[in-house]
């Protein structure tokens, strides 16, 4: 059953009853429009009385503003993103925007989905967890829709980005694990093309290398639980097993942790220390008790919202990347360290 707009009270009905033009009545619903106070009040009073539902579509035809924010998310299976999406959507709603959600499944049809999204003329597009193709970025740009990348440093030179200080956080974890006695570090990476993978890798490997340690690397963790399991199997088989393992995301670290314990019979952290990145809710569960770096989700959402509302914080010009500090969460999967000057790196 399609909606029946004919049964709705329309702006024309209001205009007729008020003896005003439709354009005047429409302006009354747009806070920034130039209209006499008494006229606006008369329109709003009648609208309330008649139960008139301001029509966002009709209004957007007049004002050119749809109030729609497109949110593109690639990976709702990684618990970090539902968390981010819930916070972001609630914040947008509270600010009077509506979220149009596009899910870009791996290997999926994100370009087609973006064209569909753009046909609704979103005022902004926030990209969670994925890199757009060059074509998709160009399509948004041609449509005049500004892009903000959340948890990704964009390739596009005129896009904005809000990220955790991934490199600093990963370096802090490396320092913490070295102080706990790690001598044979291992690294499990996510998706090679992503900035989160690259920056966390650089932070961890850079800090270990500077300390004279050689890092064994397994790049194919794919930011999934199963990917973390598979990469851990490859790393833990054979001689010269790592005694410390940093995974570029918690969801992979939990896969690696379960594999180390349940398939290899290793004690964590005695035989093998393990740490992740993100601080997803499951990291704190007693069954896992995973050491990690907490991303500053609330602050990242706040910056995103400020930008969407057109009041970007200082330094948030187009092309700007905001890097917010994370927080080292020392839990049971890494060996405790008596004193921790290293935490400073991450603050």
């Amino acid at each position: 059953m399609p909606p029946r707009p004919s049964q709705r009270i329309t702006i024309k009905d209001l205009a007729r009853e008020l003896g005003m033009s439709v354009a005047t009545v429409a302006r009354a619903f747009h806070p920034e429009a130039d209209i006499a106070v008494a006229t606006r009040e008369a329109v709003l009073r009648l609208a309330r009385e008649r139960g008139y539902q301001p029509d966002a579509l009709a209004r957007s035809m007049i004002t050119g503003r749809t109030g729609i924010v497109g949110v593109l998310v690639a990976d709702l299976h990684n618990p970090f993103y539902p968390q981010a999406l819930a916070l972001l959507t609630a914040a947008l709603q509270a600010a009077g925007f509506n979220t149009m959600l596009v899910v870009a499944e791996p290997g999926g049809t994100v370009d087609a989905a973006i064209r569909l999204l753009l046909s609704y003329r979103p005022e902004y597009a926030v990209v969670l967890a994925t890199d757009l193709t060059t074509e998709a970025t160009a399509t948004c740009s041609a449509a005049g829709v500004p892009l903000l990348f959340f948890n990704r440093v964009p390739d596009a030179p005129d896009a904005r980005g809000v990220v955790c200080d991934n490199q600093g956080g990963a370096a802090a974890l490396a320092a913490h694990m070295i102080a706990g006695g790690m001598r044979r570090p291992g690294f499990i990476g996510g998706l090679e093309g992503t900035s989160t993978h690259r920056e966390r890798r650089d932070g961890f490997i850079g800090h270990c290398t500077a300390g004279g340690l050689t890092v064994r690397e397994e790049p194919g963790g794919a930011f999934t639980y199963a990917g973390g399991q598979d990469a851990a199997r490859r790393l833990l088989r054979g001689p010269d097993r790592p005694d410390g393992l940093f995974c570029a995301g918690d969801i992979m670290a939990l896969g690696a942790l379960d594999t180390a314990r349940h398939e290899f019979g290793l004690r964590v952290p005695e035989d093998l220390a393990i740490a992740g990145f993100d601080d997803i809710p499951m990291a704190a569960w007693p069954a896992h008790d995973l050491s990690t770096v907490r991303q500053p989700l609330e602050a990242m959402v706040e910056k995103t919202l400020a930008w969407v509302r057109g009041r970007p914080a200082a330094g948030a010009e187009a092309g700007c990347i905001l890097r917010l500090p994370g927080q080292l969460m020392e839990r049971g999967t890494t060996r405790p360290v008596p004193s921790l000057p290293f935490k400073e790196i991450c603050r």
Copy 2:
């Protein structure tokens, strides 16, 4: 920076260049509109050449159909819902619909959010995981927007619902646990007003009671991990501890499991069998290995999509509740049973 519609190629530009009326050009973009084949082809050819982006808002003004499906979700922290949302959004996208997401945080402003949603004239609203207030339901109904409840039996008499056979699944779990030796069953409930809580409770307690067992009950699990922990603490303290525990959702069962093991030092399943409902991804992780009932998510999404496309399956008339069978997943947190005629209940 607001979008700059003036820089876009508009339907008026196309009409001018083709020497046609705007109405004719508009009809060409609507598959069901009455228009000569050659005329439609000429319009679409020029649109491609000029890079014209059909404008969903403008089109919806003409056709009365927006292609928008509102999706309301209450609880993205329970991993069942991101899973459902990802599948549902991808399916809607593939069918040419766009998802407008409304997040109803506990104690939040869902009524205001629904009014905002309705101002975009969605063709349908799918409600995940929450019960609308009577006012919100009436608002949707007055706006002519049909409602489908996903994983909830709606209170509203003319709303449709797609759910798992919660009662049958919970009864199958009870049978499985009794066959495994459970004699002192316990139940941890979710949110009292919800149909998932009520039906799972009825299935488990009904089956236990019919078998002559008395069930100790802790209703306040709130469908959260922390709620499951707290309820388990209350149940496991003191004498006459249950030897089997069914939680009305996996996320609570994982909280109860961690509490039983890490705070009470209980062996699972030897001292205490534990089972949940949903089969969220974490249930299968080796650290948990949780027995549960898998909800038929794919089939539920398929039914939802068929309904949204206007081709409801037989029996999906307004007011109809589709109950699809779940699947008993016997894992390591319940005691194994030699032979299982009980599984039939759940198929």
